[in-house]
């Protein structure tokens, strides 16, 4: 079965500092990967998705970027964080039966 690892679990960063969140997947090859942001404990906003190494699609224009340097690695980055980047970030991949498997998430607070 698939497993997604996300780290760190929590992060407090000052405004203007860089960001790097990492997501790795086990138990599958060539997965489709997704980054979501959840603000204020509510709905999920799709930020980026990737269908393969080096292939990134952005769903919304913003201060963030994503990269996929390896088949099972997906990284979310920012050069300079804004207060509005605070939120709960979730990595996901397609699980069995066409649904998604989610990582445990990263709580980012920009201060």
């Amino acid at each position: 079965s698939q497993t997604i690892h996300q780290w760190p679990a929590t992060l407090v960063q000052p405004v203007g500092s860089p960001l790097s969140l990492e997501c790795t997947v086990e138990g599958t090859s060539n997965p489709n990967l997704y980054w979501y942001r959840q603000a204020a404990g509510r709905g999920l906003q799709l930020l980026f998705y990737s269908v393969g190494i080096g292939q990134i699609s952005s769903e919304v224009p913003q201060n963030l970027s994503a990269s996929r340097p390896q088949d099972r690695q997906f990284i979310l980055s920012s050069k300079k964080l804004l207060l509005s980047d605070s939120g709960f970030y979730l990595c996901a991949t397609e699980g069995q039966g066409s649904g998604y498997t989610f990582g445990s998430g990263t709580r980012l607070t920009v201060v």
Partner: protein, 114 residues
């Protein structure tokens, strides 16, 4: 285009009473439908899915959902709610044709009081 609506932000029930969380969807083709649950500061956990077959789908923790094509609905139900069912619930849909991106509803917070 595909979309999901969860018309209730919050559902409150007493323990032991039946629980229903509503979901309606819109897709161009046939729907693949999912329910997820999220506990505070955790990732989403899969509850159940409808792909094809029986309209009544049974999932984890005693939950079930009924697919109704004419009403484009996929309501989540549990006959007897537990306090531990208190969480945030998401309905999701993807079209049977096209890419694999899921569309999520805004979520419904369920509170089960003792």
């Amino acid at each position: 285009a595909q979309s999901v609506a969860q018309p209730e932000d919050q559902v409150n029930v007493a323990e032991g009473n039946p629980l229903t969380v509503k979901c309606t969807y819109s897709v161009s083709g046939n729907p693949y439908l999912f329910w997820y649950v999220q506990y505070p500061n955790r990732g989403l956990q899969f509850l159940l899915k409808y792909i094809t077959g029986d309209n009544l789908v049974k999932g984890s923790y005693g939950f079930e959902a009924e697919f109704n094509k004419s009403q484009t609905s996929f309501h989540l139900k549990k006959p007897s709610a537990l306090v531990s069912d208190s969480a945030l619930y998401f309905c999701a849909v993807r079209d049977s044709v096209g890419d694999y991106k899921l569309s999520f509803g805004a979520g419904t917070t369920v509170t089960v009081r003792a």
